[in-house]
């Protein structure tokens, strides 16, 4: 499981936790997060995230 950080605002997407409130189940790999998903804190797209730890 990996974590991905929004380079614009610092929001962390943790694959282990997912975002159940947004319909993304715990354990959802980054690649499986929908392409049109945007950062819940600042609204940028997936391309503005980078991997922060493995």
């Amino acid at each position: 499981m990996k974590k991905w950080e929004c380079v614009v605002c610092g929001f962390i997407y943790d694959e282990a936790e997912g975002l159940p409130e947004e319909g993304i189940a715990a354990g959802t790999a980054w690649d499986d997060v929908p392409e049109d998903w945007v950062c819940p804190d600042c609204g940028v797209g997936k391309e503005d995230f980078e991997m922060v730890e493995i």
Binding site: V7, V8, C9, G10, F11, L19, E21, E22, V38, P40, D41, C42, G43, V44
Partner: protein
């Protein structure tokens, strides 16, 4: 065909280009900036120590890289002299540039109250990456920082500089952290979180003057007669939309540059977005509304006139010592706070007369309620 001209290469200008290029790869675009044109994210300037990033680390792309990646021309160090909206022309110091459409992505200036003293010139404000580089250089080998202002930026810097090993004293005349955004119980939670990191507070008095002290020290004099001695002073009082260029060009302005929902200003083919814009009365200097605006404006620039809508616009404040998410109620909304507090975990719900949720402030573990509460809130600008 004259280019689309964008003044400003901050998040607003950059994201407009990025979104526009998804729709239109051909139309020439010229970006003008007064600074060095490096692409960075402004919110990260108050998280540099926590994330162990220097100014250079925070640079995500050079202007050359941006130009290549998005097939645009980026001109740096350009101070625009004026705009002739009738001739559809941007006036440069020694030339001019005709536009088909013009985008004002000018940002906001930091606002510092008038201070006296012989060291006023040494007071920092951090409003862009170049400021940040100077600020970081000034902190080299230093230990103590005085921060003027306990709002969003002041509290974020207090947390970040503490994480960086600095001793921070924060001055806030309104008597608590984030006084304009949070109810008292939530302010206390944030204040306690920062105090646990070692932040000291001077609540109540205003800073009046900054003087040279012994050696390289700076002495901040407060309105109650007390003094704070520190190595560095940072002003984080507030932001003012940059409107003077628009005013001089005869565009309608109020707090920001006035636009309709398509982000069009009072002049034809001139648009504004981001921290400089007042969109149907809304001045929201945050990334979420900026991104929504960039996406809508990109469509408009590509020929499909599109209104921006703002949904629920929560603001996350980067104080890891006590996380905060706040969704302010509309300006002037009537209602009352309903507060549940347990230590640093505060859930404050702002409800109208009939019990409907109009806004919230969450601290500590209560921030987890954000997504659920967002579903109950009305859109900021449907």
């Amino acid at each position: 065909m004259n280019p689309v001209v964008i003044i400003g290469t901050g998040l607003a200008g950059f994201n407009t280009v990025k979104e526009f290029r998804k729709l239109d790869k051909e139309t020439p675009v010229v970006m003008l900036t007064a600074d060095d044109g490096r692409n960075y994210s402004k919110p990260m300037l108050s998280a540099g120590f926590t994330k162990e990033k220097t100014a250079d680390d925070l640079c995500m792309a050079t202007p050359e890289k941006v130009a290549e990646q998005f097939n645009v021309e980026v001109r740096t160090g350009i101070h625009v002299a004026g705009i002739d909206t009738a001739a559809k022309r941007v006036l440069l110091p020694d030339a001019h540039l005709d536009y088909s459409k013009l985008v004002l992505a000018l940002g906001a200036d930091t606002w510092t109250p008038p201070l006296e003293g012989d060291a006023v010139g040494k007071v920092f404000s951090v409003n862009d990456l170049m400021d940040y580089a100077k600020f970081r250089a000034a902190l080299e080998g230093k230990k103590t920082v005085t921060i003027l202002g306990g709002g969003l930026i002041g509290c974020e810097f207090a947390n970040d500089l503490s994480n960086g090993g600095f001793e921070v004293t924060l001055v806030e005349p309104m008597g608590r952290c984030l006084p304009l955004l949070l109810p008292e119980a939530a302010s206390e939670a944030v204040g306690q979180g920062l105090a646990d990191l070692g932040v000291k507070f001077c609540f109540g008095p205003l800073a009046k003057a900054v003087q040279h002290g012994e050696g390289d020290a700076l002495v901040t004099e407060l309105s109650d007669g007390s003094e704070i001695t520190s190595d560095v002073v940072l002003s984080a009082i507030g932001l003012r939309p940059r409107i003077s260029m628009a005013q001089e060009a005869g565009l309608e302005t109020n707090r920001g540059i006035i636009t309709d929902k398509t982000l069009r200003t009072s002049a034809e083919d001139v648009y504004a977005l981001g921290d400089c814009a007042e969109v149907e009365g809304h001045v929201l200097p945050y990334v979420l509304p900026l991104m929504a605006s960039a996406r809508a404006l990109a469509k408009t620039l590509a020929g499909e006139t599109t209104e921006v809508s703002y949904g629920v616009m929560p603001v996350t404040i980067k104080t890891p010592a006590c996380p905060v998410v706040v969704c302010p109620a509309a300006h002037g909304a009537e209602g009352e706070w309903e507060i549940e507090a347990e230590g640093s975990n505060v859930q404050a719900l702002f409800r109208g007369k009939d019990g409907n949720l109009l806004g919230y402030a969450l601290t500590g573990d209560a921030v987890k309620e954000k997504m659920k509460l967002n579903k109950e809130l009305p859109a900021v600008m449907p």
